[in-house]
Structures are given as structure tokens and as C-alpha cells.
Amino acid sequence: MQQLMNAPVELDTMTKAQWIESGGAKLPEAGDQLQLNGRFLLVTKADNHQLQILRTQAELTQLEKELLGWLAKQGSMMKPGSASASELERQARRLGEWLQQSIDAGEWRAEIPERFELHHRLFDGMIPFLLMSEQAENREPSYGELEKVLRSYLSDDMLLIPLREREWLILGTDRLLAEVETNEGDMIERGETKEALVSLATGLHQMITEEWGGDCHVAVGEPIIPTESLAYAVATLRETVYLGRKFHVGMHVHMPWLVHLERLLSGIPEPVRSRFMDEMSGRQDLFTDPETVSTLDAFFAMDCNVSETAKRLFIHRNTLLYRLDKLKQEAGLDVRSFNDAILVRLLMLLYKVTKRK
């Protein structure tokens, strides 16, 4: 547009109140315009209280102004991406193929080339979700159906990128994080981001299972700028689902920041793992008792805090202490001591893998 107008063009935002104060219409909508301090202002998008504005110093004729207004109006009525469903699917599949090739070639840090049509939609902060369907049905679900459901759940500006069979990358805007907050306008604290991501992923899993069809696994990563690190994010999420399914059978929502230990254990050669299990021989029998396992899971989840664990398990503190003492007596491992806690944690993780052999 700068080239066409031969003048600088800026994109800005302003509130509706500011627009009205400046002499604009009381109910502004895309395509509305006004002249302010020698500049031409055009509304490109109108939300509840906020307006997206295009501002230029260019001297425009009435016809040019009307044409720009008409374009803005048309643009606001189109869905993000402005491509038809099948066209969008084609573009998404192309990008998916490139992602797959980059990951296969070990080029996890590859940036998305500009030749991809979707490139322009990948500059904003986005939350990557990886969806793996385990639907009982044999047919591959349609892209269009899934995209429609996800748009209802996330927002119109989400992107669905098919990867492998029954595997999709979903990119949702990072503005969703703010929407998780109780009050509109509340800023999300840095520490709360992960909590919000978990709740979004858990909700997504529930929604897919209930409303779209069948069982699935969902992994979620921290927000990224997709043009820069999409291949890396996909590879990480894929690994997260693999580790989650291997070490935490029964869990369907997986987070990369919760499987660090699992990743390390997965990399240990089998003979070393077997030797460790042999040396701990007899102790892993403890993990056949569901009460012991749930107690230890809760104990580790609550950072080995006795009072908090008892609260979470809805049991008396003394009952928990009794269970931990029983474990100490039977296995010789006191999970209240740091070193023994590590050993028990490792044993529990490895037991879950070896048990299924």
C-alpha cells in the first residue's frame, strides 16, 4: 500500500471513545474513515471497544477513499486467511509436508520459507497443540469438520495443519491465555502461563472426545512465533506424546515441561536400565499396590510436602505418615529423604515401562 500511495502507511489501534472524540461515527465499523490532523484514518476492524486503524499522510481522492473503505469492509467480512476451506486445507497440507520433511531431515530449527501461503499468518504469538486421534472409527476424519469444531473452541484465527495420519498441529492465538483469566483485562502472571496452557489443553482434549469423536492425545507447548520455531515445536510435542504414552498410560494430555526425567530415562540403554531394576529387585513389587502408587504420585506431585499431600488425598496427615513409614519398612526407602525420593521416582517410572513387557 505504501508503494501504491507513495506515502508511509501505519497500522494502529484506538478505542471507540477516541474515534468518536475525533469526530468519527458513533457506531464505527470497518470501512469508516475520517481526516485528522492532515492524516487519513480508516477503520479496518472493529471489536467491542477497540478499533484497528490504518493511518496515512497520502493525499487521496474521494474515489480512492471510497475504494479503500469498500476494501476494508470486504476484508472484515472474510475469515482469517481468506481462503476457501479446500484451499486452506491445501495450504495447510503443504506446510505440514514441509514440517515433516524438516523434522525428518533433523532441521528442527528451520524457519518457514516465505513461499508458503500461510507464512503471513505465522508472525503472531501462537500456542502449539499437537493432536493425535485414537478414534475407534477406521475412516480418517475430514479436515473441514475438525477445523470447524476447533474454530468454535479456540477462535477464528486458529490454524489446523495436518501432519501424519491422524496427527494434527493446531495453532491457537496466545490471546487465549488472557481469556483464561477470571476478569477481563487481568494480566496473566508468568508462572500462571503453564497452568493456563494445561487447562486449555485439557479442555481441548475433553472437547475433542465429547464433541468430535473418540479418544485422543493432546500435547501443548509454550507460545511461539511459528515462523521461527514451528518445526522444533512439533518435534518436541511429538516426543512429549511418545513419552507420555510410554510412561504415563491412561494420561491423555501431555506437557513437555513435565517429561524431562522421562526423556532422560528413555535415552538410557536397555542393559543399563535392566541392571538398575535388577539391583532394586523386590522393591518394585510395591508398585503393584494401587494405594501405594497413588500415594507416591500425589506425594511427588505436591513436592514431597506431607501436609499438602494429605490434603490432596483427603486423608489425615498421620495416615499418610503411616503409609510412608510402611514403605520405608518394606522397601528400605524413605521418600522423605532426597536421595531415596529420587530412587523411588525412578523406580516408579521404570516399573511402568518394564511392567508392560
Binding site: E181, T182, S199, G203, Q206, M207, T209, E210, D215, P290
Partner: protein, 373 residues
């Protein structure tokens, strides 16, 4: 509304030699509240997930109403599910959470609004409609999850341990709420739990499962008073039924059950059955519910042939009742449930009368209840 029928349903996972669910046959009536109960790994959740369409059925047929739904996608089965981990949509408020499924199914706005507000009124969460999930308590979230299922007005509700994330007090409260709600909605409900109190208090009928097999499907009263085998007898009831292994003998025309600390006469009707089935002289297991051991003198005087002696190792007084852990009877502790006002002390030797009309006798090998077979 519709009933659900499972005909010879099996679930076998690839690579596993054993079926997780074996020959499951059950006819669930329209509007019935059916509870699947059993220890972890018994196949109850797998069965529910097959009904939901989240697991493929390896063999057999599943009907919802008159329609075979084996190959019907979950979303097209006209069911609504409430899981243990009742995840709400965190970026939507309560109203949007409840309306979401209907919106997706392209219901008219006014119809969505009517259903959401009606469900909210039923669940007493009208004042929470504008709130985001983060601002809700555990119990409120659970009610929203229920609301999301209710607005769908499905043919069948499926609930998988929906109360297990709540604390004991809230669980009791929600238990009653769900029961009332289901009665009001008059919809078929299949409810999975490992908690036998939940099963007994909520179900019109209970299916007890173990190792993928149905052990017994009956009303709570039938299960409690007429368990078909040792497993059901031990699983239903808290404290659990006491089991004592001993021998049946016949002396002077009376059939007696003898074990450590026991020498009691079996009532004539039951004795004849045991004679007919050839159990005299054989080892067997007697089952006695804790409340069928009586310390009141009137019982002891009236039942001279079924009096036993024991010492109290531990007593737990809950106020309205007292549990006595008794030594000297069989191999393990025997528990008696007596009146909370009893002035009994730990270490004290006491006499108790067994209500022999309410005993159960189990075959030691097959573990079947001889008196019910």
C-alpha cells in the same frame, strides 16, 4: 429416552492374551440408574468406554434403544459423558461452557438459552453463568460439567467416577444431588465407581465386576442380602463381611459349623440344604455381616446354640455405632458392629450371638454361595 443392551460383548486389546471384558450380557432398562462397580482393573471403565464409543468392541453387539451402535461414532450416539477429570473450557464462561455443544450442533439461539438457563436453575448455578471456570470451586465446577451434559438432553448419561475429585463432604452432597437429578430427568444413566457406598446409595441396580466378568447384577438390597459368591459378599458392605473357614459336622441330628472359637448350630432349613448338597463333613467358609453379631443379652439368651466368645482387641466408637475388632475367632480379626452406647472396653472378653438366619455359606473351592445357588 432409551435402554441400553450389551450382548456377549468382549474387549480384547491387541497383544494381550486375556480379554479385559468377557462375555458381558446386560439389559439396561430405559430410565434405569445402573452402577458398574468393582476394584480397579475389573473392566468397568472399559465397559463404559465401549458404550461411549471411545473403545472399539472386539466382539458382541451394543444397542442403544433398538439401534446397533457398534460402528456409530461417539458424537452420533446421543449420549452425554461426565468424566472423573471434568475439564471445563477454561477460556469460556459457565454459560458458554454449557452452550458449546448445542452451538456446535447448530441449535437455535433461543433454544440454547432456554436449555442452559433451565439446567442452571436445576443445578442452582444461575448466579455463576458469567464466571470463568478459574473462579469456581470444585463442587461448582462439577455442577457445570453436569450441566454441560444435561443441556444435551441425551438418551443416556454415562458417568465415570465423576465424584472422585471431590472431598468426602462434597462427595456425599453431590451423590444425593445426582440421584435426585437423574430421577427428575428420567433418563437412563450408567455410572462407574469403585466406591461401594456410592453404588449402594445411587443405583437402582448394581453390576459387580471382577477381572472383566460380571459377578452379579442385582438391586442393592439383593446384592447385600443375597450375594452369589465370596467376592460380591466381601466387596459390598463396610465394614466388610467376616469370613471364617471351618468344618460342617452333624451331631445328634444338628448340623454344626466348627472353627477356632466357633461351634454354632445351623438352622434346620439351611442344614437340610447342606445335607442335600453333600456338604456335611466338608470344609467351607461362613460369612457373617458385622451387624449380625449381637452383644445384647436378650439375643444371647434367645440363641443359646449360636453364642461365641471373643476378646476385644480394638474398639472404634463412631457415636451412633461401635466397631469391635475381635480376637480368637478363626484366623483373622472378626468385626462386630454394635450400639454406640455399649460400655465395652478394649481387652474385655465378651459373648456374642450370631444371627444364624442371616449367615452365608460359601463353597471353599468354587467360592459360590451355597445357600443362593
Amino acid at each position: 429416552m432409551a435402554g441400553v443392551r450389551l450382548e456377549h460383548v468382549y474387549k480384547k486389546y491387541p497383544g494381550s492374551d486375556k480379554a479385559s471384558v468377557t462375555d458381558f450380557n446386560l439389559d439396561i432398562q430405559d430410565k434405569e440408574f445402573l452402577v458398574l462397580v468393582g476394584p480397579s482393573g475389573c473392566g468397568k471403565s472399559t465397559t463404559l468406554r465401549m458404550i461411549a464409543g471411545l473403545e472399539e468392541i472386539s466382539e458382541g453387539k451394543l444397542y442403544i434403544g433398538d439401534r446397533v451402535v457398534n460402528d456409530v461414532a461417539p458424537k452420533d450416539r446421543d449420549i452425554a459423558m461426565v468424566f472423573q477429570s471434568y475439564a471445563l473450557y477454561p477460556h469460556m464462561n459457565v454459560y458458554q461452557n454449557m452452550a458449546f455443544g448445542l452451538k456446535l450442533r447448530k441449535f437455535r439461539k433461543d433454544e440454547i438459552d432456554r436449555r442452559v438457563r433451565e439446567a442452571a436453575r436445576t443445578l442452582e448455578i444461575e448466579h455463576l453463568l458469567e464466571r470463568k471456570p478459574k473462579a469456581l470451586s470444585g463442587g461448582q465446577r462439577q455442577r457445570v460439567a453436569l450441566g454441560r451434559a444435561i443441556v444435551r438432553e441425551p438418551q443416556v448419561f454415562l458417568m465415570d467416577e465423576p465424584l472422585s475429585n471431590l472431598d468426602a463432604k462434597l462427595r456425599t452432597q453431590m451423590r444425593a444431588n445426582i440421584s435426585k437429578l437423574m430421577k427428575r430427568l428420567e433418563t437412563t444413566c450408567i455410572y462407574v465407581t469403585h466406591d461401594q457406598t456410592e453404588a449402594m446409595t445411587m443405583g437402582d441396580r448394581i453390576v459387580v465386576m471382577k477381572d472383566g466378568f460380571i459377578q452379579q447384577a442385582a438391586t442393592p438390597d439383593e446384592l447385600y442380602n443375597h450375594p452369589v459368591n465370596l467376592f460380591v459378599a466381601g466387596f459390598i458392605g463396610a465394614p466388610a463381611m467376616n469370613f471364617i473357614t471351618g468344618q460342617l459336622t452333624e451331631e445328634g441330628g444338628a448340623v454344626r459349623f466348627k472353627a477356632t472359637g466357633f461351634n454354632v448350630v445351623v438352622p434346620a432349613g439351611k442344614a437340610q440344604l447342606l445335607r442335600d448338597k453333600g456338604y456335611i463333613g466338608r470344609e467351607m467358609i461362613i460369612g457373617i455381616r458385622p451387624e449380625d453379631l449381637h452383644e445384647e443379652p436378650v439375643f444371647i439368651e434367645a440363641s443359646p446354640n449360636s453364642v461365641i466368645s471373643a476378646s476385644i482387641e480394638v474398639s472404634e466408637n463412631l457415636g451412633h455405632e461401635m466397631f469391635l475388632y475381635l480376637n480368637g475367632l478363626g484366623k483373622d480379626n472378626v468385626i462386630a458392629r454394635v450400639d454406640g452406647r455399649s460400655q465395652l472396653q478394649e481387652g474385655q472378653n465378651i459373648k456374642l450371638a450370631v444371627d444364624m438366619n442371616k449367615i452365608h455359606l460359601f463353597d471353599k473351592d468354587t467360592e459360590l454361595n451355597i445357600l443362593e445357588a
